[in-house]
């Protein structure tokens, strides 16, 4: 008999809970209290989210997949792929419709990021940064004028990027040294950023600079800077993976930015950065599970075609056991990711779960990609087969938007109060 634990039905504030109730289980004994009260499994998506998943999967397969190899070899995002992302409405997912966005849910963004990553994690991260970092902060802290100007531009055709890290400050983000000196009705922005995703294509830059170094990190302020204010895109990094995603050094050589470029409140930038990264983490987790699944699916296709010793290599028990193990871990990572997404949508605390999702997903992605190359053997090691790219791409998962050590620290910090 099903367990007798009864849960109080949560207050469903978000209108984006599944519109159609799931049919209850057909066998009486398996119908749990939870199912009767409409609490659904983590594999439950609204009709829109499901349709979106299919639409993006088709778009990725038909428009992006043919260009993946070329983009990786050239280390450059194809312009038609970028245009496709905008045309499909994927660069303003949560932006309200009045501002030109799709007005969809956070989980919709996660679904998009996951599906794109199954085909190309580089393209996925471009979409992730735009939606979960740039759009999110402007939507939350922008004035109406800033929202109308920038959210619309970001939904329709302009790429944005999140400029926090510097040569001397990565995990230790608040040690940043870029300054913004107030000068009458403007600020003089001076300094340099490093490791900035999307920076080569971007026209809108969310720059974190210190407006009052005497206050330490409490002087950090977020500025919306436009390219033609004088942002210089310097060195473009040549990387191990996600090569089509641009990662550049940015220089601000005493450029003038207007006072209304301040996003939110002066001195609160550190807070906005942490908040954005806590949410963006779920996006990276989605990218990693997409990557893992993409690698896994490619390998499975090959394994049920290739024969050795008279059998399909996918039929050898040794292989099947490895495959089952990896599939289990991908599923666990996926559930961590979607649970964190739904917790955030429900307005519940999610920081620890988001950190767990990103930590675990990046680990699973590395294992899945590594195993996938091994399973298909020699051909998996060649660049003309998609698997070696997944293997190279996965490594960044444990590094950006909070290294795995930072995630562990966050999780530990949130656990301690429960016990001590």
């Amino acid at each position: 008999m099903a367990s007798a634990i009864r849960f109080a039905a949560p207050k469903i504030a978000s209108a984006l809970r599944p519109a159609t109730r799931l049919a209850p289980a057909t066998r009486a004994f398996s119908q749990s209290a939870a199912a009767r009260e409409g609490l659904n499994s983590l594999n439950t998506f609204t009709e829109e989210e499901q349709m979106l998943r299919e639409a993006v999967a088709n778009f990725a397969k038909n428009t992006i997949k043919p260009k993946v190899f070329e983009m990786d070899e050239k280390e450059l995002l194809d312009k038609s792929v970028l245009k496709g992302l905008f045309d499909q409405g994927l660069m303003g997912i949560e932006t309200p419709t009045e501002l030109g966005g799709a007005g969809a849910s956070f989980t919709s963004a996660i679904v998009v990021i996951e599906e794109l990553a199954k085909v190309d994690p580089s393209v996925s991260v471009i979409c992730d940064v735009q939606n979960t970092l740039v759009n999110t902060i402007i939507k939350k802290y922008g004035t109406q004028a800033q929202k109308e100007k920038y959210l619309t531009a970001l939904a329709e055709g302009k790429v944005g990027c999140f400029c926090l890290s510097e040569a001397g400050s990565g995990s230790d983000a608040f040690a940043l040294e870029t300054t913004a000196k107030k000068d009458g009705s403007k600020y003089i922005l001076s300094g340099s950023k490093m490791w900035i995703t999307n920076s080569y294509e971007a026209e809108i830059f969310l720059v974190f600079a210190n407006a009052d170094p005497s206050k330490g990190y409490k002087g950090i302020t977020c500025f919306i800077v436009e390219k033609d204010m004088g942002v210089k895109v310097a060195k473009k990094e040549i990387k191990l993976g996600i090569k089509a995603s641009s990662t550049c050094v940015l220089n601000f050589d005493d450029i003038e930015i207007p006072a209304d470029a301040v996003l939110g409140e002066v001195g609160k930038g550190y807070k906005y950065a942490i908040e954005a990264l806590n949410e963006g983490r779920i996006g990276i987790a989605a990218q990693m599970i997409g990557l893992a699944q993409g690698a896994f699916d490619e390998a499975q296709q090959y394994m049920y075609q290739r024969k050795q010793f008279g059998s399909l290599i996918g039929d050898f028990q040794g292989m099947q056991f490895q495959v089952a193990q990896v599939a289990t871990e991908i599923e666990a990572a996926r559930l961590l990711t979607y649970n964190a997404a739904r917790l955030k949508e429900e307005g519940k605390p999610f920081v620890m779960e988001a950190a767990m999702a990103k930590l675990y997903s990046s680990q699973v992605a590395e294992k899945a990609a590594s195993k996938a190359v091994e399973w298909v053997g020699g051909v998996g090691f060649t660049r003309e087969f998609p698997l070696e790219k997944f293997y190279r791409d996965c490594k960044i998962g444990a590094i950006y938007e909070g290294t795995s050590n930072i995630q562990l620290q966050t999780i530990a910090k949130m656990l301690k109060p429960k016990y001590a």
Partner: protein
């Protein structure tokens, strides 16, 4: 231009899925389903007509169980204005003649000027519904269309793909057209349109509402997989080839 275009669509097993025959039937229960690819092409053509202002309304129409609503929602997300679902019981087989009768009953009520269907469904490959519909309605038909042009809102010029090549015909409206592969390339549903689709009207009807009996009139006698390919043999010379062909009784 005030054309109203009716696009009947069918929910079928997805084209990429491998099907198997078990117990004399194809078991479709847990397989992925989607809109029939030729119906997507038909719908895309109708939506393009609306964008070119040659049409003012696109109505998507489907006969099937509850799950058929998925493809109707996709049609709305691709640009259809309204959707009509003629709901039948899960597992109820509805054959081309009965589908044609249902579309006819609906068309006689709603009076669209143009009906565009996919040339055939990829599950039964009948290629009959459009033709039968035209016959029942007494309307002209242009099947296997690879190009459709609307002239003055009163007639159409259609290029058809036939065995000998291409044939161009013109017909007065109202008319029935069936879409072939090269008519167009369907769009992907964009996210903003998927969100808007939810607010578009979807009406439910029953076969009784349209006065049609959907009892099948054709009985399926046998379903079997095609014979498995057996390996051939290599021959060393033309003489050996001729000898083997004679032995097999083919020369």
């Amino acid at each position: 231009m005030s054309l109203r275009v009716l696009v009947p669509i069918k929910r079928v097993v997805d084209y990429a899925v491998k099907i198997r025959v078990a117990n004399g039937r194809v078991d479709t229960a847990n397989l992925k389903h989607s809109m029939n690819p030729f119906d997507e092409i038909a719908l895309e053509e109708a939506v393009r007509m609306k964008e070119k202002k040659a049409a003012k309304e696109v109505i998507a129409f489907s006969v099937g169980p509850t799950k058929s609503q998925d493809v109707l929602r996709t049609a709305l997300a691709m640009g259809a204005d309204t959707a009509v679902h003629v709901e039948v019981a899960e597992g109820q087989e509805v054959q081309p003649l009965q589908v044609a009768k249902l579309i006819k009953a609906f068309a006689e009520k709603e009076k669209p000027e143009l009906v565009i269907l996919g040339k055939q469904a990829i599950d039964d490959d009948s290629s009959q519904t459009g033709q039968m519909l035209a016959g029942l309605l007494g309307w002209p038909q242009a099947t296997f269309a690879s190009k459709i042009e609307v002239k003055d809102g009163s007639k159409i010029t259609v290029t058809r793909e036939v065995d000998g090549g291409l044939e161009t015909i013109s017909a007065p409206l109202p008319a029935v057209v069936t879409a072939d592969l090269r008519l167009n390339e369907p769009r992907f549903a964009t996210l903003p349109n998927i969100m808007k689709a939810r607010k578009k009207p979807l009406t439910k009807l029953s076969p009784k509402d349209l006065g049609v009996d959907v009892t099948p009139t054709i009985e399926t006698v046998k379903v079997e997989e095609p014979p498995k390919r057996v390996g051939g043999a290599k021959v060393e010379s033309v003489d050996e080839l001729v000898a083997k062909l004679k032995a097999a009784g083919v020369v």
